[in-house]
Symmetry: C2
Subunit: 392 residues, 2 copies
Amino acid sequence: MAEKTNPIIAESGSAGIIELRKMRLKLPAEGFNLECGRSLKEIEIAYETYGHLNAQKDNAVLILHALTGDAHAAGRHQPEDKKTGWWDFMIGPGKAFDTNRYFILCTNVLGGCQGSTGPSSVNPETGKPYGMAFPMLTIGDMVRAQKMVVEEFGVQQLFSMAGGSMGGMAVLEWMLRFPDSVRSAMIFASTSQLSPQSIAFNEVGRQAIISDPHWQKGDYYDKESRPETGLAIARMIGHITYLSEKSMDKKFGRRLQNREEYGYEFSKEFEVESYLHYQGLRFVQRFDANTYLYITKAMDYYNAAADWGKGSLEKACARIQAKTLVLSFTSDWLFPSRQSKELVKALRQNNSDVSYLEMDSDYGHDAFLISSETLNRVVDSFLDNLYQSGGA
Amino acid sequence: MAEKTNPIIAESGSAGIIELRKMRLKLPAEGFNLECGRSLKEIEIAYETYGHLNAQKDNAVLILHALTGDAHAAGRHQPEDKKTGWWDFMIGPGKAFDTNRYFILCTNVLGGCQGSTGPSSVNPETGKPYGMAFPMLTIGDMVRAQKMVVEEFGVQQLFSMAGGSMGGMAVLEWMLRFPDSVRSAMIFASTSQLSPQSIAFNEVGRQAIISDPHWQKGDYYDKESRPETGLAIARMIGHITYLSEKSMDKKFGRRLQNREEYGYEFSKEFEVESYLHYQGLRFVQRFDANTYLYITKAMDYYNAAADWGKGSLEKACARIQAKTLVLSFTSDWLFPSRQSKELVKALRQNNSDVSYLEMDSDYGHDAFLISSETLNRVVDSFLDNLYQSGGA
């Protein structure tokens, strides 16, 4: 494992040129035991780092991605890359996650398809990709793997951590599972458990994948075709839920795509249809269908109250020691503010140090992924207060 | 065509035993010209009637169904039928649509698959089912076919008409297209145009059907398998949008289906998943996939403001003469109250006689299909006032 972190290229405000690295977890002979009762003999976790770990190793900040995110949170892999990491507007010198001050770490979740061990990885027992032989995962499993990566860096307590959507669920799980290891934490557009509506949307997405004849019971890695159509449909469904009705109205309205009048044919006539198809096509180029199945299932399973409080979120939150910031967005209907407020209430019932902000936004669930001065200021101030009050 | 209406069996509150009938429209030699520029040489429309047409023929009420509805709005086809028509709680002796007073008519839309001519009907030019050779339809086309049925009964002006969701769009189209022919009208949970979000959901449903290998470009009628998987997925997506988050919470919560603990497998573990699968399976037994494609497209196209007001709903509504009742439901997020209010505003700007009620309900978009004392009272009072003020 490389102890040295990635150098920051002197590029104002950018985390610079970043290398995606992989860490093989040091597992005992029986492997990594999962909540489902099965185990993994080998685990690699892909990660990136931004900034430098200080001598005391108390300035580490862990960033946790959402369902389809990855370890590439900031900067570029190559100078000519047009696309930066998914949270580039938040991470870099002088930004909220200030790389001049903090050591930022982002890992691809266990089960992922962007470098970490997942269903598309080679099963050491067969020499072939796992496919559906991959064991079922939970958010808790993902978090325990992340903890091992953090410990490899010699970090006993995270200065802070942050995540949106599924990443926020993982943040909550960290605070519950490793209360001593989290000094502060930020949860964006998230929840302590999915609503039945969210489970329903996930299940329909999974059915679209499983019904694709190219899925072949998950055993498609050596085949000519992959279940791209099913995965694209799952992505289209997901994408509708990530946007708000208002943002769709503003972005597309009922405008037609490259035409003045209806064509009266089954093609992409409305701009919103073209956009969804484009999102679906782009997604299948970078994401594995089986990973989509496993990770959505992990999200469905997550239930902080059941796991840590015998059904009571208030009881569960009694474990939490971290100073917390919870942030929701007015137009997020997938993980609505109500769910964030339930978490905040449970934290407050335990006299936990929690701040809550409901940000006014038209961008729906995806708002935490969209560049925003307010988001930067809120996070910056949360981290800076803590930093000033006792240093990292 | 049978002039005599169905006899009402003396069964308290029930429309009784009803026969589904079919009417062949009397078309000119060139056929029925459609808005898309094509035409249909033959059209049959399935319909049911409840109550008796009076001598003056001024007591007729037309009921218009939603996307997946049919002509069977009330009563039973056989005495042993467990299921009644889809609006049975609204239609019958003493009910809001009182069959002792009004002559109720409900037709299956043109393009449908429950008796009316649609993509599953035999194309007279080929002797085989149309499939995708069926011409594209609009709500306006459906309404013109309904008008021909109404005229066959000798009815020049409808005493009233009512419809929810797509049925409400058709009601609006009737008022705009045939202003003299509608004395009063009721629009439930509807809109003058779909939002891009609704178009997006429709498109994903269509893609699920089209991607099903059994769809075979719509030419599956003589095949062993039909695109049932794709249609079921489309239905599952639709069904989520018909319910509210709150009703799903109440109905299913995160309860597991016939188990105490997670099975950690890709099966229907949560009750909400089982319910959606069940809804999908039930739907494919009664509905044709191609009809789903055509009717969702007709809904997407509908735009009252563009068609009748050069883009202005206010201008469009200047045509309307009917006394109107617009009703929306607080938890309907598919056709939210905002859309009903836009229509009400446009009607009021024309000093139209319009009443608006936003009903408090947790049932989401489907609320107009769920038995409700309030719904019965509101409709009864709307119709009764008109009836008393000048008779049917």
